[in-house]
């Protein structure tokens, strides 16, 4: 490991009604792919944290724009934003969010309902924040 704190450990599973569903076990659909991020950021939590702050700012800007593009039928604008966000999401190990962005990139007109997509995307982003401990 390089200088700086290690990335936080995987959170313990939680039970009880009202708890969020656990992250998907498959790395491809995981809300946070810890192993890939540990390798990519050389295990350094400080460096990862700095990149995560930028990513959250990007996602905060992009998600409303993608939703608006889907809702208004401006699929071109939605696709451009989704492409950008997917790249950042993959780098940060936010694989579930990246998959949702890819849905938009590949979608035909009207195939992705904006409200449902936005709910899933925000849930994926919240899952990333929760599991990566970036805030």
């Amino acid at each position: 490991m390089t200088a700086g704190a290690d990335l936080p450990p995987r959170p313990a599973p939680q039970g009880g009604e009202g708890d969020r569903p656990p992250a998907q076990p498959s790395a491809a659909g995981a809300v946070f792919d810890r192993d890939a991020v540990t390798e990519r950021f050389l295990g350094n939590a400080s460096l990862f944290g700095r990149a995560a702050q930028v990513f959250l700012r990007q996602a905060g800007d992009a998600l409303p724009q993608i939703e608006a593009g889907l809702a208004s039928g401006d699929l071109g604008a939605a696709r451009r934003q989704a492409h950008l966000l997917r790249g950042s999401a993959l780098t940060m190990g936010a694989n579930r969010l990246a998959q949702l962005c890819q849905q938009v990139e590949l979608a035909s007109d009207g195939a992705v309902p904006a409200p449902a997509w936005a709910v899933q995307a925000r849930s994926a982003l919240e899952g990333f924040v929760r599991e990566s401990h970036v805030i």
Partner: protein, 231 residues
């Protein structure tokens, strides 16, 4: 040594910088191909350019193609880093002489291995190791340093005199510089100086010799970095 990272995604630039920026590497970042092109034409001379493909204003393929058409920038190796690669993109990258291709999301180990390989290949193609040159010429490191200083000064004088020099004198100067570069194991300088004699405008020739001054200076830095005890 400088590495130029070109990507419109700030997160990707940060992650790549972390992976490739260990000392003594200096990372320079550009947010798209246009900004990178302005940096390169403004005098930036990275050892390698790691560029995303799809970017606004100017994409990575166009950036590489522009560099290839430039008398000095044509020798910068490009590693393209992309999340998707269409057949057209791969073909255009191959036609532009791409040195490496990395798929996003990149893995640190693979990225460093690819960049290290490309930098090593560039070094080998550019110049003989100075310790080999020293042995081949049977001179001490101090003498080799002096010879490099003379070459650097000669190339600098050629640039200064280029505006007023007669065509034949300038051509003889290029020939001399080429011969000295070859003797000192600076293969890339010799090749660029041959290119300057074969074709190109007067402005291109000046740019090439300015580049030679910089490359000789890089070799001098390497020689001087060797500790006195190792001499």
């Amino acid at each position: 040594m400088k590495i130029l990272i070109v990507d419109d995604d700030e997160v990707a630039r940060m992650a790549l910088s972390i992976n490739l920026g260990a000392a003594p590497v200096e990372i320079v970042q550009a947010c798209d191909g246009q900004q990178a092109w302005e940096m390169l034409t403004g005098g930036l001379r990275p050892s390698i350019c790691c560029s995303d493909v799809a970017m606004p204003r100017m994409d990575g393929i166009e950036l590489m193609q522009r560099a290839r058409a430039h008398p000095v920038l044509r020798h910068i190796p490009f590693v393209l880093i992309s999340s998707a690669a269409s057949r057209e993109t791969v073909e255009a990258a191959a036609a532009g002489g791409v040195a490496g291709y990395i798929l996003k999301p990149f893995m640190a180990v693979q990225t460093r291995a690819t960049v290290d390989r490309v930098i090593h290949e560039r070094r080998v193609a550019q110049a003989e190791h100075f310790l080999v040159t020293r042995r081949r010429l049977d001179v001490g490191l101090d003498q080799l340093e002096q010879l490099l200083c003379v070459l650097k000064a000669d190339a600098g004088s050629w640039v200064e005199d280029s505006a007023s020099a007669e065509v034949e004198a300038a051509a003889r100067g290029l020939q001399r510089l080429q011969g000295a570069s070859a003797v000192l194991g600076l293969w890339h300088c010799a090749s660029m100086l041959q290119q300057a004699q074969d074709s190109g405008s007067a402005a291109d020739r000046v740019q090439i010799v300015q580049e030679v001054v910089q490359r000789v200076d890089e070799q001098l830095t390497e020689v001087r970095q060797l500790s006195p005890s190792a001499r």
